[in-house]
């Protein structure tokens, strides 16, 4: 297959088109704007709707409307814009609608900065909006994975009737790498719940997230969590790199995992037995996979572009069976392999 060189943002947008995304609603924000720009240019040619909304709040509610009719819909933004979408995301989850939400993270809080960051881990995996619900969250680490995961995200969203997030960052969005694309998707699952026209042949469907009777609301939430359990059992993903004999396991996701992998290679070249655990699904966190990765390790080093958010899941998933240390840069500063290597060496010397 032909390899193309594309920016992460543009590759993701092309993959969304090939996945059959028919509606995109967004509002520009650095560093994700190329997604909007690409779809502004190409969505109409693909027979879909591109609409630059008046705000992020409007965009996510347009996604709710489009998704309820059964078409594949997506929105994208960066950290401050994703916060604005939170109410709508909760409504989409409460209405059991499928959609794909892209967060190309930048530094925060507040308007923060525009350089790469991973400070929205908690938001994405714990509480993007109110209520008892989860997003399925994929963390790509390369431009190719931006393509692969957005392709998968649409299928998973449809299969489980839930919002799926791609949690990327400014580095992945802005960088170019070789990438190949899947063929355009043509087979889609039936959506008997969709609020589309049916000529009076069946009972009409209603999109709703309001249940005034507590027992009914509880029932709807419990039913949703059964689907979450199935995802936890079947669909966690992680990469284990040189973990088998490793004394020290570095845990990192997304762009930071690339830096960490370089550091692991540098450490190996110096005779230090280091390995990398990279969660690809952030929710559900790959619990079995991390325990497999750290089984022979003496210590875990969690590395993030934040003050330390995923580290809590690392500790929880491993049941604190190993000491977990942390190294992070934040505010848009990208850690270097040399910095991570220094941390590995510090821990490697203190066995």
């Amino acid at each position: 297959m032909e390899r193309n060189l594309m920016k992460g943002n543009e590759a993701l947008a092309e993959a969304a088109l090939r996945a059959g995304c028919k509606c995109f609603f967004g509002y520009p924000i650095t560093p994700q704007t190329e997604i909007s720009a690409y779809l502004a240019k190409n969505m109409a040619k693909a027979g879909g709707v591109f609409l630059q909304a008046e705000s992020e709040v409007a965009a996510i509610n347009m996604v709710l409307g489009a998704a309820s009719t059964g078409v594949r819909a997506m929105t994208s933004s960066s950290s401050p814009g994703v916060s604005l979408k939170s109410e709508g995301v909760s409504y989409i989850a409460g209405s059991d609608l499928p959609c794909v939400i892209i967060n190309v993270q930048r530094g925060g809080p507040g308007l923060g900065g525009i350089q790469p960051s991973q400070a929205d881990y908690w938001q994405a995996t714990k509480a993007l909006g109110h209520g008892d619900y989860q997003l399925l969250v994929y963390a790509p680490s390369s431009v190719q994975e931006m393509v692969d995961k957005v392709t998968l995200a649409f299928d998973m969203a449809d299969a489980y009737r839930m919002p799926v997030m791609i949690l990327a960052d400014g580095l992945l969005g802005q960088m170019m790498e070789p990438v190949t694309f899947p063929e355009k998707k043509t087979d889609f699952i039936e959506k008997p719940w969709a609020t589309d026209g049916h000529g009076g042949k069946r009972k009409h469907n209603i999109t709703n997230s309001l249940y005034l009777k507590p027992e009914e609301l509880e029932k709807s939430v419990v039913e949703r969590f059964k689907r979450y359990d199935e995802i936890k059992a079947k669909h966690t993903e992680a990469e284990l790199y040189l973990t088998e004999d490793a004394d020290i396991i570095v845990t990192a996701y997304g762009a930071t995992a690339r830096v960490a992998k370089s550091a692991v290679n540098l450490a190996r070249a110096e005779g230090i037995k280091a390995g990398l655990f990279r969660p690809i699904t952030l929710w559900p966190f790959p619990v079995n996979e991390i325990n497999e990765a750290v089984k022979n390790a003496k210590v875990i080093l969690d590395v993030e572009m934040s003050m330390g958010q995923m580290i809590e899941d690392v500790k929880l998933a491993t049941n604190c069976s190993k000491p977990v240390e942390f190294y992070g840069r934040t505010g848009g500063v990208i850690p270097t392999p040399a910095e991570v290597l220094e941390q590995i060496k510090k821990l490697g010397g203190a066995k």
Binding site: Q115, G170, E177, S262
Partner: protein
């Protein structure tokens, strides 16, 4: 082969495009490549830089912190990055735009008056960045001219195909410059 390349200069000098040509050349040679621009409040006249990695192995961090090839198209860029170049690395300087000399003796420095050279031939207009790429591949042997040609053919859209010859002329000018 493992090149960590940093290209730096003013916005508008074609830093990002020059980087793209290197990345596409790597793609043509079936290498692993990455291209990462500095992004932010850059604009014409502001500072701008671009990291390009070309390797036989999968690329880890695409951010080049210690380049083994530095291309500097203005004085502030050379001052900022010269200390970060790996010993034994190659430094290509547009000497029309840079009024200082490199004091380090552990790197190879090529001074090319690229911007001045563009005034010698209308076909070279705006091609200082590409002239420097010519010098870069002559010094490092990173790519053959056939690879570079294939990269231009891939990058330059069909309706601007007439610009390919100009670019290839700029490459040749850089390769043949001995100052």
């Amino acid at each position: 082969m493992n090149y960590d390349i940093l290209l730096a200069g003013f916005g508008g000098q074609g830093i990002l495009f020059a980087g793209k040509i290197l990345a596409y050349s790597g793609l043509m040679d079936s290498k692993e490549v990455s291209w990462l621009p500095s992004y932010g409040p850059e604009m014409r006249g502001g500072t701008c830089n671009c990291s390009v990695c070309i390797s036989d192995e999968p690329i880890g961090s695409p951010l080049v912190v210690n380049p083994n090839v530095l291309v500097a198209m203005n004085t502030p860029s050379l001052e900022k990055f010269i200390g970060t170049v790996q010993p034994g690395g190659t430094v290509i300087v547009d000497s029309s735009m840079v009024d200082i000399k490199v004091e380090r003796t552990d790197v190879k420095v090529c001074y090319v008056p690229a911007t001045e050279l563009t005034s010698t031939d209308p076909q070279l207009k705006g091609g200082a960045n590409i002239i420097l790429m010519g010098k870069l591949i002559a010094e490092t042997g990173m790519f053959t001219t056939d690879t570079i040609k294939a990269a231009f053919e891939k990058v330059v859209p069909a309706k601007r195909a007439h610009l390919i010859d100009n670019n290839l002329k700029a490459i040749k000018t850089g390769m043949e410059y001995n100052g």
